[in-house]
Symmetry: D2
């Protein structure tokens, strides 16, 4: 079992539990250390709750990095999971990479492009694995969508409609002491973007993952509807992608009544696909003649990546945790393989992360200047075979 | 029964049959005259097929207007239905209005804003009724959506997502002799716009009808994917509406595998609605707490407009023809009432039509210049109470 | 245009309007006479509302039959539509048949098997057409389902699940003066059965139409949930069909919150189909490997019967009236063809009606005795090629 | 962490993995011992794969029971999970209970009612917990359905429609060496029933759990469609439940194209609910006026049991494993509480299991005799508060 540590994920942070359930699901990774909170008492409390050896519950991520590095190789953590707010991605990631640990980091990668690029170089110069948790690419039927595109079943891609809408920030939840809302609406902790950074980057990455196309131009309209909020809570974008494809990207957290409605449609010359995260086991394939095929997880005629990402038979719903666990499964494969950079494994990398940060900066620029902007980008030091 | 004549709707024009079925559904309107085709033989053939008196099947719309005007009042047509390609809306409309007939005209109103405004003035100066067949506003559950907005159930409107996508023009169907495709892709007959004019104007009008908000700014990306095609077949727009609302509008005819997928979602501060034309009997109302209410046509707790637009009990599906017939029902009410201009009746008017043409011209301008454009507009001579 | 008269369909009887809209939709049939109510004043009122010549609005169906028969052939009605409560099907049908008119009659055919069989013989001995309005078989995608079965796409049929549930009789609506509820719950007017007769016969006929299989045995559980009601309002049946197929049939009018939920699933050795009346444009075809194909009305690769039963393009919803109109379309074809008995035309016949009445009698017998009963039956005087 | 052992779940047995993922999901239970296969080499292989101490991988369940019982209390297993084919439930359950261990056992409880009743007495006479893995009751929205019934939101229950259909046994899969198909179709290992035992018992238990009603009478039609198969693969039942409710229960494994389609609808005097296992996060509540409310997991206005059974926010799909894990969560609560019999905890018990076995025996009897049978039953030694 791969031993891992966690930075963040203290009391009240639901995403920490998700990471722990996902990392542990297949019995391949085991939590052995943590710096769960910047408040040492809260961190110790979480450590006790999780049954950890108290000596491996740390007061800070820096302590954890240095102390774990000093432990015998068979005992120390192999990989760290960074599940903190955005502004606390860069430094922990840098420190753990430099201490020789693999890193799994929440998205968006960093709050500035400069930091993102620094991480790219650090990863490229070392031999550690760096995975970014764009977890929605872990769903089997997303992998099937990608496989259909790659097999040419859609022909040339013409249009993309991606949308990620939620309603939970329709009111000033951040003023009620709600921890999740608090940091996400604070530029100091979230970065230059609100909704687009929090969920729009997932949408952006999903388009890249499924279509293999990169952005070329974008035009963004960012709005803040809730009074007093300091970052946008609603974003609408026009996209121009490689190969002449066009599309729209919407990210909103004031879409009242929506839960976690990430959806993707891709239309090509020869076929189309449609997928919705809230019903993740179903992928629609549209044929030009109007027939639609409903493809479902768990069948043996699916593509290899879709089949390998499946644990239980068709009709026994797998969900968010299982999808997330597929990312950890790939990370575990990569770690066990001893691969460097690991771009051949099926998880998002530091370079995907830099692309996400660049996308955010360009969207903010477009909204500021009120028009189309160039969105082409190549992150530094990217290994061959890494791009979408 | 109200006697009507028809311009267009000859052999092969499916929309002519739809108008006849819709106008006749409630037994209030009866076809008695027609100039069904610019080819006199085809026109006569259609007249025979429809069992018309041959003396009232005309060689041209101009003949029809002058001859019918000369008939005794109890015999001549009261209203004309213009169901020709776009470039043949203006002249027939003008001629029949001037000859003293009510007019029902297909959308978009005209191929130029100048023509549209001329019709606005003509209608304002006379006492004839002018209805534009934005038929999708005839659906009961669209009327319910509008009622919910008007009752304040959504609070202040924040975002709108309207989409009208079809796949039938994914290939160069116009090169195969397909009549419907032929004129729709020809600038001389369709006007300045392809997909946006053909279906995007429905989407634009639907937003206005349901939300009561007018466009203020737009940014459009228009694309032509099919080689050799002379008008755009795909359009993506960012919208800024009155009251600070934001949104997106998509119209595409190259969305492979889509049939007639017009959909609307409107999110406010207090609730949201969602409606899809392909399942027109269902309207979703989203509450902020995540509960969703599925409202269906045919129930007695619906708003008055929704109830009045319903013919048969809940669960017995009404469809496109019934929705279209509701527009004719309102026109018949207006004619029988003797109303002038009839802005109090529930059908789209010449001023709605001018707004649609203006919208097209601004979208084309935005696409040409590559950025945001002002989209505010007030059509000339509009009576009080007419705007959305 | 075929001239028709109507028996029943007076004020407040929604089904009369449906018949008139359906019969008139394609411009092939025209209402010219009627005995709309047993109350002459109400009948005259309806006649005026419908714009009929007062001399052809009759005080009784018997008057209508004899008077119309005396009119010149080019003037008199050709066919009568009987849309009265069940107990008023037999006598009018007999009288009009004997007077030489074609008959279209609502279901169930009669209130006793004896009457049903008498009508069978009368039709067989004459040359008039007799159609029974099991209108749900008029839907294009029901015809597609039947075509798939006939083409062998399902292989041998193994199981059938048919359900027709409504909620409108969940309370004692008949005690409130509700006309539709009143006669349907009265044994003197409805016959031996309530829910099963009113809607279960549609379900029974739908199974026969789609599968081509006849019932062999049944076991019925009939219940009356609303206190004081005299006929069952809920029915559950086990079915054994020809060829060894098994299934269930449910008809309920106390299924709270349901509108008009008729649905059918048929599973064979090689495939399955599923269809729901409330979304009638979609037919699912399940392949054994788990792929599901969504077939929709309006496409050119559909079976001939499905295509012919379609009026407008895919994605422009057709509904209940259009489905009903397909039955009238077939009746008009048959009348114009001069066919005798017309079993080759695509509408239910008097023999289908007798099967329905027999089914009801056997279900009541099964419920009474509490067990399985033989349900095989061949109606008298049935022409070759008539059975499902 | 609670230490558990497993009987069964060796190579190729997918359900073993499901139990392990479910039991481990919340970090409360840890696998420390196992007798995974009757083949010692396969058992050892599985133990190694799972990283177990080889000394605690046993050659037989009997060895495991006696050896574990001899270990120090702080080391030995506390509970055993029995995930073997049906004929290997009784003996292991008995042996482990007698050795003083808690038991979690797969359904159906046993292959004979005699064995089931023996286990009931054994549990009643001891102080060990016995849980039966009717895992579908673990879904949050099933718990919500039950809560709505208990709160009286449905009024008096009138009708129930439960269905569990799959297609995977449409062909003679058992003849191809398919392990899962092999034992399920073998009377020596599966017991008196095929589809009804395998999946129909889930349906039966689900009805009891949600409605709180027990069966009073049933009439069953059991069929074997696949040639050479020795147990039924298709079952249709009429149900009469307590309080006068009526219903149908279908279980089929030859429903081509179906995956794992368990669904439940319950109609009362005041409302209805509908739930489908393949989309487990959604529960429909039908109001009598036709409005339907879509309730979803993860909201704070849900009933307590539904909220407690939820791990992550709404819109992040939880699935089968999470539902299953809720059962283990309740078992862990019960074990930690030191409760005896634990009927107050939210998991199915040995008495629920005996009811399931009795249901199977009565259904087989009904099918044999061809009619209604009495299905009332009270299992022996049942503590107060245990029944549905």
């Amino acid at each position: 079992m791969i031993r891992y540590g966690m930075v963040g994920g203290g009391p009240g942070a639901f995403i920490g539990d998700v990471h722990r359930m996902a990392a542990g699901l297949d019995g391949r990774m085991r939590l052995v250390a943590g710096a769960f909170s910047s408040d040492p008492e809260r961190s110790r409390h979480k450590g006790r709750e999780l049954g950890l050896d108290p000596s491996r519950v740390y007061e800070s991520y820096a302590d954890m990095a240095s102390w774990e590095a000093s432990l015998p190789e068979r005992e120390r953590i192999e990989v760290v999971l960074i599940v903190t707010p955005n502004h606390l991605h860069f430094e922990p990631a840098r420190v753990f990479l430099e201490a020789g640990f693999h890193v799994v980091c929440d998205k968006p990668l960093t709050t500035t492009l400069e930091d993102a690029e620094a991480l790219c170089r650090l990863v490229a110069d070392g031999d550690r694995i760096f995975a970014l948790t764009h977890n929605y690419t872990g769903y089997p039927m997303v992998k099937e969508a990608r496989a259909l595109v790659r097999e040419g079943r859609l022909g040339d891609i013409r249009r993309v409609a991606v949308e990620y809408v939620q309603g939970w920030l329709s009111t000033a939840l951040e003023d009620t002491g709600h921890r999740q809302a608090d940091w996400r609406t604070d530029p100091a902790r979230a970065g230059v973007s609100g909704a687009l950074g929090d969920i729009g980057t997932h949408a952006h990455n999903l388009v890249r993952y499924v279509t293999g196309l990169e952005l070329e131009e974008l035009c963004a309209d960012l709005s803040t509807f809730v009074e007093g909020r300091r970052l946008e809570d609603d974003a609408n974008l026009l996209l121009r992608l490689g190969g002449g494809a066009r599309g729209t990207l919407t990210a909103s957290q004031i879409a009242v009544g929506e839960e976690n409605a990430l959806s993707l449609r891709v239309y090509g010359t020869d076929g189309a696909i449609a997928w919705r995260q809230e019903e993740p086991e179903t992928l629609w394939f549209h044929r030009p003649d109007g027939r639609r095929e409903r493809r479902r997880r768990g069948h043996e005629w699916l593509s290899d990546p879709a089949q390998k990402a499946s644990r239980i038979p068709a009709g026994h719903p797998e969900g968010f945790i299982e999808g997330f666990a597929n990312l950890y499964h790939a990370v575990a494969d990569a770690i066990e393989s001893g691969a460097t950079h690991a771009v051949a494994f099926d998880f998002p990398t530091v370079w995907d992360g830099a692309r996400g940060v660049h996308f955010l900066e360009r969207a903010v620029e477009s909204a500021r200047t009120g028009g189309w902007v160039d969105a082409r980008y190549a992150p530094p030091a990217e290994p061959a075979g890494s791009a979408a």
